[in-house]
Symmetry: C2
Subunit: 139 residues, 2 copies
DNA sequence: TCCTACGATGGACTTTGTCTAAGTCAAGTG
DNA sequence: CACTTGACTTAGACAAAGTCCATCGTAGGA
């Protein structure tokens, strides 16, 4: 069953075949798919679904707070259904594998007042980079 | 005098008018220009310089370790001549202003072993977001 | 001064994403 | 159920950022 789909029900969200398929292919743990990856998986279930609809639907899920956008590289944005547990990301520099991580401590607290330049700082995004076990083994 | 240009001399770097102009317009403190911004400033001094050359030159400066790429949003990459002092970035969510910041503590140490999934973690990138003083005043 | 390998150029091409006009349909009403 | 309507979907044009390539030009050494 799609947990993401369940969360999207009962929010006045008009249900369509396209939206259901997008929610289903995006569901899971450590899932960080690009819009194109979502589209190609959606096409397997609903061949006529368009790219524009995938973009629109992902954008709405983000607006609803049920999906978060992740930008770990300079390529395509990735979409993450794990929206209710704040977390950061650990990325393999070789193969691009992405894991959700929960650092101890609050990175916001590590930014001293005299390094804030008068800004009201509200958010911080952390990306760890390294080499995953299988890439290390393959070296 | 261009500090960046000085650093680039004596590295076997073939000097051309184009490379000199790119190094000069990119020099300074808290400088985070896009390739297009570098190009349009370079054109003021050397009208026939091409986009491809600006991209090539910036890419080489990055390879030499004298410039770092910064990706604070999903728009264009930004180029930062402050390559010798490791730092992170504080970005205004309204106007895009970027400041170099130096958090206390090591964010790498905040990632427990049981959150590393067997990765060899070598690097971390932190982006703080907030509202700058002049945007707050304008609100 | 001459050579030549390296750098510069413009344009085609790719990737990622946005926008629009026109067609389709989910769901509330009676 | 049929009707209605505004929200949703679609294909394709368009745009921004960046890469690639064939060709031309030149920095700097012989
Ligand atoms: Mn995630
Ligand atoms: Mn910087
Ligand atoms: Zn890997
Ligand atoms: Zn601002």
């Amino acid at each position: 069953m799609s947990d993401l789909l369940e969360r999207l029900r009962g929010r006045g969200w008009r249900m369509t075949a396209q939206r259901r398929v997008v929610a289903e292919v995006l569901d899971g743990e450590h899932v960080h798919l690009t819009a194109d990856e979502v589209h190609s998986r959606a096409v397997d279930r609903l061949p006529e679904i368009s790219r524009a609809t995938v973009y629109n639907t992902l954008g709405e899920m983000v607006s609803l707070g049920e999906v978060v956008e992740v930008s770990t590289d300079r390529r395509a944005k990735r979409y993450d259904p794990n929206a209710h547990r704040p977390h950061h990301h650990l990325v393999c520099a070789r193969c691009g594998a992405i894991r959700d991580v929960h650092p101890s401590g609050d990175p916001l607290a590590d930014l001293p007042a005299d390094e804030r330049f008068g800004f009201t700082v509200s958010d911080v995004e952390v990306t760890y980079r390294g080499v995953c076990p299988s890439c290390a083994a393959a070296a």
